[in-house]
Symmetry: C2
Subunit: 179 residues, 2 copies
């Protein structure tokens, strides 16, 4: 049930339409909890049934109507209830680690590793740009801003260790010629 809560968290930051949320989930909160627009619309409908969100329709000219969702009091209660529960260890599902472990085709692994490294570098740059822009003075942060900054710090360290791991793999494989 955690996409529900990711959407609720996003709505506490600002009310939004399904479309807006889908875009947020393409970046920002989506880095920690990816979701497609199809999922989002379904969960919004379910949460509206449950009374955790409410929607208002805005007509727009030259644009399709827009349904803006806002979190309700019941939604905030649910968020608090969820936050008080211990969050279990999250599952890691890594195609790449499985592939490494099955090691047969050295070139395929090298190609994959280089591509992953480039991905990590890009995402790290994006995170660092966000940090510089939105959190220039971390020592002064409080409440939700402090939490968002700490989440971002987690993203930064994840990407850095990803780059280091790729480098370790490249060194080990390139240093050994073909198998």
């Amino acid at each position: 049930m955690a996409l529900d809560h990711a959407i609720l968290v996003s709505l506490t930051e600002r009310a939004a339409s399904g479309y807006d949320l889908a875009r947020r989930f393409d970046a920002s909160i989506g880095y920690f909890w990816p979701a497609s627009h199809q999922q989002i619309y379904r969960v919004l409908a379910r949460m509206q049934e449950a009374g955790w969100v409410e929607s208002t329709v805005q007509e727009q000219d030259g644009r399709p109507d827009k349904k803006t969702y806002a979190i309700t009091g019941a939604g905030r209660d649910e968020l608090d209830r969820w936050a008080a529960q211990p969050s279990g260890r999250e599952a890691i599902r890594s195609d790449f680690a499985v592939k490494l472990r099955g090691f047969r085709d050295r070139d395929a692994i090298l190609r994959d590793t280089r591509a992953r490294r480039a991905d990590h570098v890009d995402r790290l740059a994006a995170y660092e740009a966000s940090e510089a822009r939105f959190y220039p003075d971390p020592a002064s942060l409080e409440g939700q801003d402090l939490g968002a900054w700490l989440a971002l710090r987690g993203g930064i360290s994840t990407e850095r260790r990803g780059i280091e791991w790729c480098d370790e793999i490249l060194t080990a494989l390139e240093g050994r010629g073909s198998r």
Copy 2:
């Protein structure tokens, strides 16, 4: 379709029953791709249909019959085909990061962070014990052993950065009193 490949990789290391595989997925390969026995039995049945694995039944006295699965030539072909494809960025779904971002209840987050830190410490110890035991001389590794070691190295760096992140969170939250 990646549980399929995780099982195939595990079977290249040694033929196994569904039960054996389920235990391997509780540790070792399961650290990179968790799966329950129910899933495993379902996928084994499907892969047998597809001809990627074959099974032989062994009768045992005082024990239920045991169906041992082995990978076939077609299974190896499928593994190679899969390994040659680029593996996309994997999705991270972190309840904890979402919770951080929604920051309302500081004590709940502190509790969660301390529990996560302890988890990371335990798992890191398990990985390091494996490394010392099975890979005392990494420079001499080749082929599948080299891959398995590199995957394990990934596990080790993941846990280390997990611990560091928890410490960063604890420092930030404890240093600030309640909000």
